[in-house]
Subunit: 226 residues, 2 copies
Amino acid sequence: MAEFTTLEHENLNSVVYAALCDALMQGRFQPGDRLKIRDLAEQFGTSVTPIRDAILRLANDEAITFRSPRDIRIPGMAESRYREIRAIRIRLEGLAAETAAQVATSANIRALEAILRENEQAIDAGDRLKGTQLNQAFHFMLPQIAGLPVLNNILRRLWLQMGPHISDAYIEGGRAMIDHHYPVIEALKRHDPAAASMAIVDDILLGGKPILERIVHGEERPARRA
Amino acid sequence: MAEFTTLEHENLNSVVYAALCDALMQGRFQPGDRLKIRDLAEQFGTSVTPIRDAILRLANDEAITFRSPRDIRIPGMAESRYREIRAIRIRLEGLAAETAAQVATSANIRALEAILRENEQAIDAGDRLKGTQLNQAFHFMLPQIAGLPVLNNILRRLWLQMGPHISDAYIEGGRAMIDHHYPVIEALKRHDPAAASMAIVDDILLGGKPILERIVHGEERPARRA
DNA sequence: ACGTCAAAAAAGATGCATCAAGTATCTTAT
DNA sequence: ATAAGATACTTGATGCATCTTTTTTGACGT
């Protein structure tokens, strides 16, 4: 999962960054949670320097923000921001799906089907964490198949921002969260770019509905203290 | 130009980051150029810490890379990567243009026209730096008009990567580089999203042609030493 | 001349001390 | 008992020392 495209010479800061990215994408942070450099340093068993480095990168990704100069927090998500991210995803994942449909091999298809099958089982078993991970894995597979690393990185950053807001939505959504993945695979099999794009758009709009509702009804500026 | 959406409490690291971003986008670095933290610290009159912070953020943006653990450089651009970035820009700037066409005010139009006029003059005067800056300003104005800050940031990062590769193309291109900006403004005036999108796509594909040719004929892995 | 290898210099990574600014706590006067 | 002010603590930013690895360089042999 934590496959980073570029560089990253297993520095401590990259290890911390990768770990925090995973935590973010898995919804292990809640909006409003506060991060303390010294605490994280203790948890990771490093000095504060690599933690600062990782935090800075995450802030650059807008995955965390400095509410005040000394108050590092997981930001809230305004509804307008979520809608914007969704619109961007539609364009970008649409492009990925179209391109993937043109070049997908049977091995690619099998990999997607394997993820989808596992995802079903995870959802049926009520395993929220595994469910979100596999859903993400499915989405990230398309730009990978398409050979679009830049696009993949952009999407990764968007998911970093969405992570804290999708936590419980997947359990509530049940299998409906991944129902739209089937038409995607069918379109790739037929090498039908337009159908692939439409299918992934359906997934983003319909499958993501519980997430939007959560955000709309949630606090814009999350309460103090977690 | 250096308007950063979020946070950024005028820390030293943010000052350095903003300065390096400007330098990158203005083409003041060449692919293959090496950056040294201690040298930059001397230039900025700070210690190495804020420089490291800024460099780390830039590396996270993939605007600079660590060729080896101790060799920080402006990366080269493979043709495939440029084509991918172009495809992404088409989708994203297309979305920005469509949205902008729906909401543009007459004040927005006037601002765009002012930039375009200035850009003409800069090109006629052979002022490469100002030409590229105003061209960028035009492109960044669309997501701003559209009210899409996330999209704006994504584009900013892409431009950070393109910056070192567009240096001399604008002089060679002459007015052809901005000819396609007129139809964009016309479409916004008519509140015609489809036309606005098509116009900006034309600009990206045709206006960017000299850039692609430069990249195709340039070195993939740039020569040592600048 | 050219290539090889080793010593020296360079350079980023890490850790840590200090600073400044904000926060919480405690004291004290009303 | 409450509120205002002072004190101590928290916490990120900055600077700096040190460590390790890389890069450079120059001497040496072919």
